[in-house]
């Protein structure tokens, strides 16, 4: 029951180009209309309003190290994202295969849910 047509793909490509053309046109109009008076002060980072130069405001350089606590969530995400890719094609065809197909996907999702439950029990989801 494939009802996609060539024009459905073509309009996507046209619009992709049109989107970037819109941004480019806006910036080109901006170039004509805007003043340009660069200075050293304007080129500095705004940061938080305090001069980022260590000599003046003592807030450190503009590049800084931060501690990332989010990487665990990234792992969990990868786990589920793979599942999601399989879910969509399965959703369109599982009716034809009936209960066995549903059971197989149930098993697949069940293992992932178990993984989430394990991470939860291990305290991974607690913010530290």
């Amino acid at each position: 029951m494939d009802s996609s047509r060539l024009s459905d793909y073509a309009v996507f490509g046209v619009l992709l180009l049109a989107g970037f053309a819109f941004v480019a046109a806006a910036m080109a109009a901006n170039r004509v209309l805007r003043p340009s008076a660069p200075s050293a002060a304007k080129g500095e980072n705004y940061e938080c309003g305090v001069d980022p130069d260590p000599g003046a405001g003592h807030v450190g350089r503009d590049w800084a190290q931060v501690q990332i606590r989010y990487y665990v969530y990234a792992f969990l995400f990868v786990l589920f994202a793979v599942e999601a890719v399989f879910l969509f094609p399965w959703a369109t065809v599982f009716r034809e295969f009936g209960a066995p197909a549903a059971a197989e996907m149930g098993l697949f999702v069940g293992v992932l849910a178990l993984g989430l439950a394990y991470a939860w029990r291990k305290g991974v989801l607690r913010w530290r």
Binding site: Y9, R34, V66, I68, A99, V109
Partner: protein, 317 residues
């Protein structure tokens, strides 16, 4: 065929340029009245209707400032990366039955979800290239939030795909019946909430958090680039509201002749956009840990349970 493609591309571009402004102006006025203010009253005389046009004219004349320390190509590209995916999503949203859709691809739902997911790239690009501690913090918060909420969003969308047995957005609306309002209610709640987080609207605006991170990943942006990033936020509202209306509220279906169905789609989208605005007024910002907890301990389990329920019911009927 060339004419058809041109008409559709122009129509989508027009919707992309008009609808976000309508939502933005509504936000100005609705928020003001909810807070006992009047909002803009001068531009265009009648209740400040031209305020956003005046803003646009102002932004177009502003100097283009890029910090010397910034990673310039990435910094300059980020607004386009934020904006273009949402434009492409509008292409797939059916306004009415039959041919009233930009592109009726069978895998519409899959593409739409993939396009919404690109937002995380724009956030990271903007935050990291700015060479600023606060933008980096905002971008990392944003990346964690967007990745986490991608999951419930995808799972809730998959539930609809299972219920309808198709990935075509037009097909999903055709398969919809009022019984879904009850049956798919948890999925709708999950989808709309996760959608709010995907577009970083309050109460999920910790990546911007103006009271702690200056202006989050947008801090170093000025002039037209800043305006384009703001526009992306409002296109995002339109996209999430329209997708929720199409997937869960039956899109063009409603009382009256089917030829007026596009009115229903717009009406449902508008009502949901008003809810998005309302939530900004009513809710305080969630902390980063609360955002992650709500996703992993709340929305993901609900979405998984909904998926099992949907599959069981779909097999039974």
């Amino acid at each position: 065929m060339a004419l058809e493609i041109a008409v559709k591309a122009v129509a989508v571009l027009a919707a992309f340029l008009v609808l976000p402004l309508v939502v933005g102006q509504t936000e100005h006025k609705l928020m003001a009245h909810m807070q006992g203010r009047l909002g803009p009253m001068h531009a265009g005389r009648f209740h400040g209707w031209a305020q956003l046009i005046a803003d646009g004219v102002k932004f177009a004349q502003k100097e283009d400032l890029v910090p010397d320390a910034a990673d310039k190509p990435v910094f300059k590209l980020a607004p386009a990366v934020a904006l273009v995916p949402y434009l492409l999503v509008i292409l797939f949203i059916p306004l009415g039955p039959g041919d009233l859709v930009g592109s009726g691809l069978d895998m519409g739902l899959f593409i739409v979800i993939a396009l919404v997911g690109i937002g995380v790239l724009a956030v990271l690009m903007a935050g990291w290239s700015s060479a600023n501690k606060y933008t980096l913090l905002g971008a990392l918060r944003g990346a964690a939030q967007l990745m986490a909420y991608e999951l419930p969003l995808v799972l809730a969308a998959a539930s609809v795909a299972v219920a309808a047995g198709t990935l075509s957005l037009t097909g999903i609306v055709e398969a919809w019946n009022p019984w879904w309002l009850l049956w798919q209610a948890p999925a709708m709640f999950v989808f709309f909430t996760a959608g709010l987080a995907e577009i970083r609207r309050p109460p999920f605006d910790a990546p911007i958090a103006d009271s702690e991170l200056v202006f989050g990943y947008l801090t170093e942006y000025a002039g037209l680039r800043f305006a384009l990033l703001l526009l992306a936020e409002y296109v995002g509202i339109v996209v999430i509201a329209a997708l929720t209306a199409v997937l869960f509220l039956g899109g063009w279906k409603g009382p009256g002749p089917e030829s007026l169905g596009w009115l229903w789609t717009l009406l449902k989208t508008g009502a949901l956009a008003a809810v998005v605005i309302w939530l900004r007024v009513a809710w305080p910002r969630l902390r980063v840990d609360q955002i992650q907890a709500l996703c992993w301990k709340g929305l993901v389990p609900i979405a998984l349970a909904q998926l099992v329920l949907t599959t069981a019911v779909a097999l039974a009927i």
